[in-house]
Symmetry: C2
Subunit: 403 residues, 2 copies
Amino acid sequence: MLMSASVPPRRVVVLGSTGSIGRQTLAVIAAFAPHWQVVGLAAGRNISLLAEQAERFRPEVIWFEGAESTPWAGPGSVEPPEEMVTRPEVDTVVVATSGRAGLVPTLRALEAGKIVALATKEVLVIAGSLVVRAARAGGGEVRPVDSEHNALWQCLDGEADGVLDPTWDQPLVPGRFSPGRVSRLILTASGGPFRDWPLDRLGQVLPEHALRHPTWRMGRKVTVDSATLMNKGLEVIEARWLFGAPWDRIDVLLHPESLVHALVEFTDGSIKAQLGPTDMRLPIQYALSYPLRLPNRDLPRLDLAAARSLTFCRPDPDRYPCFELAVQAGRLGRTYPVVLAAADEAAVDLFCEGRVRFTDIPGLIRQALEAHGPLPNPSLEDILQLYDETQARVKEAVECRRC
Amino acid sequence: MLMSASVPPRRVVVLGSTGSIGRQTLAVIAAFAPHWQVVGLAAGRNISLLAEQAERFRPEVIWFEGAESTPWAGPGSVEPPEEMVTRPEVDTVVVATSGRAGLVPTLRALEAGKIVALATKEVLVIAGSLVVRAARAGGGEVRPVDSEHNALWQCLDGEADGVLDPTWDQPLVPGRFSPGRVSRLILTASGGPFRDWPLDRLGQVLPEHALRHPTWRMGRKVTVDSATLMNKGLEVIEARWLFGAPWDRIDVLLHPESLVHALVEFTDGSIKAQLGPTDMRLPIQYALSYPLRLPNRDLPRLDLAAARSLTFCRPDPDRYPCFELAVQAGRLGRTYPVVLAAADEAAVDLFCEGRVRFTDIPGLIRQALEAHGPLPNPSLEDILQLYDETQARVKEAVECRRC
């Protein structure tokens, strides 16, 4: 007889509840009801799905784009995300919005001492230093939901002996590990659907090709970012903030099967890897259940004997120029990552709308980075303004080219 | 600048110093001299190598087969293993003898509260309950050196939340993990050199074929045991004692590349794996440095991008009857594992001497197990006597068959 872990209570706000991660978060919460409850839901424009979710999960508060002026007949009262996350009954906020929308609620939640289960890469990429400051000020903690960072977190947790390394910053993730033990963090990447396409055919890639990810089912933006490997560049920047790792200790390997989510190499040459089925509910659940692990029959198991073989290789820089741009912007720091993320979001939009080619994406981002005069200590307002301006500028540039 | 871990002092006895693991242990100790020192060395019949080792490492005490009656001119005085391991200045004993020779010194060391870095599978297989009792009585601890168990230990360490599982026994390994988090321990096996031979050709296997292991360089006995998969069966029994795991939670996968040494599946479906180059110095060093990890430039690094692909499959029971015999003997418990280990040692000797065929090995072991009337609570003397009697009986049976 197994004496399973008793499920700890969680009272959760889900930002981006109608997106891919948001829906999977609600599936995980449902598996542990009534111990896990939804306090708040915030969505974008998919109001019908939000209404369904509200019927099922009975949140106290909800939000959607235009909620100020649109009547809401469903359960829960209307409250903006940055307010709902600070409610005293909330302990955990899942941030799974796309783009910059998650930033302000993340900062407010951390300042209020909440646990932030973070799925939105852009938050740390564009405002890592503000997130660190908010977490320190309010005692909040950041738990990575991204499968790669969640995997690094799992591999590092418990690897503690008090050995320091002053080239590392203090990590944002909870748990105990000693930077002095770690020699490399290795993120894996599927390489996207065009890993094996001839380079000279990449100009012909259509949005419907890019949206067909080989291993993960995800939202539109992140799927295109996987195809350009921008996704992995953003994750390198994210890893730097989450774990405090110096740039030269973060590495990327292509791993087309997406079963090994990340690896950590330690100073003695030993490597730990985290593996699992390509199902985001596993890292979401770990982020919510930590420091416990909870059995969940809804989740698939990975049968390695049934898996194809696991392969690894280095990414080809000629195939993935966006990856290098991201790492360069990360290393330059200051507001370069803001421009990177904003230009990428605009470029992906333009590509999905059929207005630029797949191979135009890196050029648009490079242009924006080259034109940028960085700010040394940007405020939240600086960042948000720069983000919006950069997006507008990238879109304008394409408009002008066409006229 | 990396503030590396300061090397803790270790004063070590190496039993089986002239064997494969013993030599590699001395190489690791040399890398951390003068912090790590050799107090005692014990060998079998390779006295010339022992003399070289003694010249280099200047032990206080030495031992070899026949030392009672043979003069010793080298450094160090002569002292039997079971005495040298209890010396007050000793903190760690590496047990890397073959067969049953390591048993008594292991028990004495544990009773004296020492750390035992255990490489000899037979010790736990034949006398697991005595080892547990000795460790409890004297406060000693067992640290696995075998790459697979060392890997399990690394994957489990730190996975603690206090959740119990009464089907597990208390583990022998140090460190913190909660059985209630663990759903499966998975040992990997190369499958040996005959993994892909036609089954009907296995009768033609010669000792020189069996001694050509595809991935690891090891001693003769363990190399043949890898070819029959007996090795992995013994390791399942060992894992049961080291980690306290119930039988049905220990699994084996063939993994021809031998880069993933073991995996742990947790209750939430997440899997952690430990990987490293096929070099026993890594697990030896971890067993000696634990709870620290120490950088060591002598050790190779694993470059996954350069590695062939990693593959996994279930072992074919028709190809590896010894594996099933071992697991059956383990599950039967009592003195069955003693008979298993002794009969296997005798059968491997006979095979290496060219007196039986490779495919005769499982039959000889099965015969010995079937003839056995088990003892419920064997003493040390019972076990040693049974071991020697079983070996003699297996060899006699073959002699009789020939006359």
